[in-house]
Assembly symmetry: C2
Homo-oligomer: 413 residues x 2
């Protein structure tokens, strides 16, 4: 049975949420626990409540909205994504999987359907790494992959920890590590998301079903040189932190290009120098490097190459180096039976689809560690994401929501 | 006659002013027209008034404090420096020449001396380029080297112009270009300053007398690439603005090292990227480059080499380049008779001295275009400047003030 997806209402809600941003439209910026992020959370919680779902928040700000099933004791089926957005982003990344989940629930409700299992819609805290330099913070904690010490050691660029921001956001509970989910909390997890790559558009397909998520990793480097007056300190005596950082950034590119795998991608996405005055030799540089691959072997080889290059460069230039592996994660393998269920729904709805790899990471990377999981991808224009011109059409979004709703129905009947 | 310099009082005032900062002690940061800079200006204006000087401000915020001489119509003798400070700076750069001028005046007053010519102490607006990317803003305007259009085109990193900041600082007058000084306003100009280099300390000399100021120049580069998701955009398709910037920064270093002159210094002091998120390919980079030399020929050759490298790198990487020569200044030659007068004072006081080149630029670079000018340098520890650990001893400062006071007396008698 075709479900009554209200694509127009959903688009209106996506547009409304996009205006809750730290920067003027069309730019979306919602850094974790910023004013805009907190207002965005309220917007979403209200929609959940209007749909009759019971809303709770855990100690780290993951939001759970529950549609109680007939069998209250059975593990629930979960879906969801994130609404936080990096600086200068667009309005679909994450949001389609959150607002789409609400629309999927509403569509099921309209048909009079009552689920056997409960359905939970999750909004994950900080899928984006902007605040603490660590992506998927909420789902990492739910999956129990972060120690109490690691959580307590998180700092943003102003030196504030999670506890500081927890209080600002009025989050309940005391111990973030206690947000870890009990075993068998969820029967499965399915996340709807824009592809953030060009494959579906190029092949003119409506849906991608994710079989594997590429292995992400990230490094943070603190380079300490010696500052001084740009006019007075002659070149031979210099220990310029920026120049060491510049060499390292070029080695990051080289390591990806020379990895032997076309899937290795490496990016220096953060590069801050101090003091940052034109007439002052940079004394300090902070680099954050993102490195991913579909293959663990080539990813790890590139990682080691980058680390060795950083050590050599800093040694040669007399620069102090502090190197931290922020995260080095394995790839996620999605559940075969779940992938088959989603394929079945696509066939039922007459939507073209392919099975594929996700190069971007998502909260599913960590949910897959605690329950069977997969993702439903929809095309986005030009494969563009993390930019204000990110775009998926209302029809593409409605198709994705239809597949999500059909999958939820199939899995909770 | 030995003048009664009150070194202890002066040191106390230097310490007090250093606490008026955007950052906690020992860090001094006073960016032009920031809250701290405005409070610093008030502090200095009060000291001038306490010394009985008549204080006025011009349309761009240059402060003039006048000790009227017996011959009111004769061109005045000017001295002074600046109190603005780059981020993460120390407490002596500029300040010694401002507070030292006040102490020199007070010492002369104590002896009952009445000057024939008037003496004016000047606090120049924005010797540091932090706000608008252009150093010596106040003295450039006094010397008439900036067109009305160039002044109107100045923007800080938030897009605010000089007019915006003029209003915030409640500055008088309407036309910044009208702050240009009439011909023959000053008979001469003498600036007291810390050396910002190691020569005086290494040679154990009390005083340096500046014969020449190295030729400064600076470039601003805007690099525009294409952003995107750090996981999804494969390496061959990238147009990463940071990587182009990294290559350019290394070419800046290379151009200075290969110039043939040991005096060529080149620094990429500003390097900002957007969006600056670890999982996003940098779409934009802003670089500000400082290039100086005692020789115009090698400076200009290095400048051309850097510009050509930037063009080649951006072309090869598919990056849009906007290159602006913010300033390309000639060196200043100091007045021989004035240098002789200062030498005479040093001999009179029994202070060791040398004639020297200033590698750092100063407001004297522009004052030298409109009147005979020179500078009095004092040693600073390790040659360190533009850092919180910048230091000159109370005795070194008192010696500098004694030479300044003696020179003022000699020139206005």
């Amino acid at each position: 049975m075709k479900l009554p997806i209200d694509g127009a209402r959903l688009q209106k809600e996506i547009d409304e949420l996009s205006l809750i941003s730290e920067q003027p439209a069309p730019v979306v910026t919602r850094v974790l626990f910023s004013e805009a992020d907190l207002r965005g959370r309220d917007f979403v919680k209200n929609l959940f409540r209007q749909a009759g779902l019971a809303v709770r928040e855990d100690a780290v700000g993951n939001i759970f909205a529950r549609w109680e099933g007939r069998d209250k004791s059975a593990p629930a089926l979960a879906t969801g994504s994130h609404i936080d957005a990096i600086p200068n982003a667009g309005k679909y990344d994450g949001v389609v999987g959150v607002l789409g989940a609400i629309e999927a629930v509403r569509a099921l409700q309209k048909t009079g359907f009552v689920p056997q299992r409960s359905i939970e819609c999750i909004v994950f805290t900080a899928e984006e790494p902007t605040r603490f330099g660590l992506g998927c913070l909420g789902s990492r904690i739910l999956a129990g992959t972060l120690s109490k010490d690691k959580i307590a050691g998180l700092r943003d660029r102003d030196g504030h920890d999670l506890e500081f921001w927890r209080k600002r956001a009025h989050l309940p509970g005391g111990d973030p590590a206690a947000a870890r989910l009990a075993e068998n909390t969820y029967a499965s997890f399915v996340e709807l998301h824009i592809e953030q790559g060009p494959i579906l558009e190029q092949r003119n397909l409506a849906i991608g079903i994710v079989e594997k998520i590429a292995a992400p990793s990230s490094l943070r480097l603190q380079l300490t040189g010696v500052g001084g007056h740009a006019g007075a300190v002659l070149m031979p005596g210099r220990r310029d932190a920026l120049l060491a950082g510049a060499e390292i950034a070029l080695e990051v590119e080289k390591a990806a290009l020379a990895s032997g795998s076309p899937d290795t991608v490496a990016t220096t996405g953060v590069f801050r120098i101090e003091p940052g005055a034109v007439n002052s030799v940079p004394c300090h540089a902070t680099l954050e490097i993102d490195l991913r691959d579909t293959q663990l072997a080539s990813r790890d080889a590139a990682l080691k190459k980058i680390e060795a290059a950083a050590v050599e460069i800093c040694h040669r230039r007399g620069i102090g180096l502090q190197l931290e592996r922020v995260n080095v994660d394995a790839p996620a393998i999605c559940d075969g039976a779940l992938v088959q269920s989603v394929s079945g729904v696509c066939e039922e709805l007459g939507l073209s689809f392919t099975k594929m790899i996700s190069r971007a990471y998502h909260d599913t990377l960590f949910m897959a560690r605690i329950c069977p999981a997969t993702m439903i991808f929809i095309p986005c224009r030009g494969g563009v994401s993390h930019r204000p011109d990110e775009y998926s059409s209302p029809q593409q979004i409605a198709d994705g929501v239809a597949v999500l709703a059909g999958t939820l129905r199939r899995l909770v009947e």
